[in-house]
Amino acid sequence: MSETTTHLPEEKARIGAPSIPGFTEEGENLSPLNDNASSLLGGDSTKGHSHGGGVGVVDSSRAGRLTSYNVEDFAPLTGREEDWRFTPLKRMGALHTAELTGAAPKVELLGSEVAQLSTVAADDKLRGVALKPEDRVSANAWKYAADASVLTLPKSQDAGHVRLRITGESKDAAAQHIVVVAEENSEALLILDHVGSAVLAQNVEFDVREGAKLTVVSLQAWEDDAVHASSQQASVAKDAAFKHIAVTFGGDLVRLAPSARFTGERAEIELYGLYFADAGQHLEHRLFVDHAVPNCKSNVLYKGALQGKDAHTVWVGDVLIRAAAVGTDSYEANRNLVLTDGARADSVPNLEIETGLIDGAGHASTTGRFDDEHLFYLMARGIDEKTARRLVVRGFLNEIVQQIGDDELQERLTETIEEELAATNN
């Protein structure tokens, strides 16, 4: 089927249509992939069809991204790489070069009788079930993680609200590995509550098994000096539902890469995010939804507010719909609200579609200043400017807060947003 859409034979070309190298009647031949599937650049998506061909181009398709458990396979970072070009490497606390031998943040389980937390050795077979490092920092964390914390959500049980408090107590560069196993038909709302301070390279994997319903809130409530690079990967099995909500407002540099991969049909993935960057903060979110099987559904929405000099946010959203993923329904959007001068929001939605037989795929990105018409409308009703601004910002971010479904956490976030707004008198 993809043969006809992506590789039109010459004789089928419209009569009179000029022949342009690299183009078919359908348009440009995008994503030239390496046909050699054994190559590091050859993902599954290269096998089923034949467009492009020839030599693979690094980073040209999300499917071609290098993945490896061995840090040496990744070239040393220069900052010019596509997936590092926005990140200030100097502020990374050497997470990409150092031996990550510092003490990993303490992990404590709070609030559930059903969920079980244990520690396993670094070579335990649970490690790597759902995660394979996709960048040098993640691979470095893989190498240096001394052990792994394993949270098990037992099958067919509702574990309710589960909180893992992850407390950073040292500024020595450290590695951490967390495995979450959501067994068959389990249900839970898991909060990864990052507090304290740390220089941390972290891998978190979510093994979401058949019929499980797992909601994860990864909350980055670090102290101002924390550095946190986290790769959070999920494999989502048949009929399972995985919802991931990244909430980032603390830390000097946070680089979170949530990715989710469908492994069975009729599963659902939702990735949400909320970030609030103040002066000098670098908050980066790079997410990936991998549609490799038919009839799955995904939705992505990240919203961010920025204020103050050199507040910088980066959002990169990759959605890949592979040739086999017919019947896919997918949407991704990023919305940024820039509250003051001097802040910068980068937003890059990437959508790759390798089959036409889908229900829907869309992407959107907006970065805007405060809307003066909103302000005028509210002020024309007697509401002063400061209150009006707060109403709008709170309203803007609330769309994500409402997704969380935990009253206590929602309240805490609402308070945090108020504090952030009060800080610069918005």
């Binding site: 005028f376 024309a380 002063d384 109403l391 309203g395």
Partner: protein, 252 residues
């Protein structure tokens, strides 16, 4: 009794071609309990007058004055004007995502009155006003104007008019885009507010249709940024028959 007085008002906007004068000397005196209709062809400056009274930043007053009981309105910020008793029912009410109607109405009422309304009576007031305007009770939980139809947005403007009880209401083409039933419901709301609150009304419209339901005491015809003619309700009847042609042609 209160008086809203507009004296020799000149208003400009910034365009790509430079500054453009829209209002070229408008004078009006409106007292509470009076209804003034402002009519005129498209582009004559009717909506500019409405937005200028409310203080929209796009419009610059180059000369003239607006006073409310002698107080200089032009010196007031947008929210101060609302607190002083001016209300603008907008032609295109904006959607405010993430802010629920309930929250918005209570916040605005508190700001205008300077104190929070008593919760029990307030909830009842809102419910009653909504039901009279045939607004579904679900709207209270929805975000301000988000996903509302044109007619629903206009009803919600009048809902605010009834709840906030201003001294003067400026209705900027509230009738546009309304079907006959909605027009009746909205007009009844305006008439109620006028009867209950001793309100003065500045009714801006292109069509005479709404004047069947809201009876004007005075009619002013705007042409090219000036009042071309004024009179009693009979002037509206004449416009109904003759249209604006004779002003526009005379002007050309």
């Amino acid at each position: 009794m209160s008086t809203l007085e507009i004296k020799d008002l000149h208003v400009s906007i910034e365009t790509e071609q430079g500054e453009k004068e829209i209002l070229k000397g408008v004078s009006l005196v409106i007292n509470t309990n009076e209804t003034h209709a402002i009519m005129g062809p498209n582009g004559s400056g009717k909506s500019t007058l409405a937005s200028t009274i409310a203080g929209h930043p796009r419009y610059t007053v180059t000369s003239g004055s607006i006073t409310l009981d002698g107080e200089d309105v032009l010196e007031m910020s947008v929210d101060e004007r609302a607190k002083a008793g001016l209300f603008l029912a907008m032609q295109y009410p904006v959607e405010v995502p993430g802010v629920t109607m309930t929250n918005f109405l209570r916040t605005a009422k508190t700001a205008i009155d300077g104190e929070a309304p008593k919760l029990r009576t307030w909830t009842k007031d809102v419910k009653d006003a909504m039901s009279k305007l045939k607004i579904d009770a679900d709207f209270a939980q929805r975000n301000v104007n988000e996903g509302f139809s044109g007619g629903e947005k206009k009803r919600v403007e009048i809902l605010q008019l009834e709840l906030f009880k201003p001294k003067f209401a400026v209705l900027d083409e509230t009738d546009s885009g309304l079907d006959v039933d909605a027009l009746k419901v909205v007009s009844e709301g305006v008439n109620r507010a006028q009867a209950e609150n001793e309100m003065g009304t500045l009714l801006i419209t292109h069509y005479t249709r709404i004047l069947r339901y809201i009876k004007p005491d005075y009619v002013h015809v705007f042409v090219d940024g000036r009042v071309a003619e004024q009179g009693g309700p009979e002037l509206a009847d004449r416009l109904e028959e003759e249209g604006y042609d004779r002003y526009v042609n005379a002007n050309a």
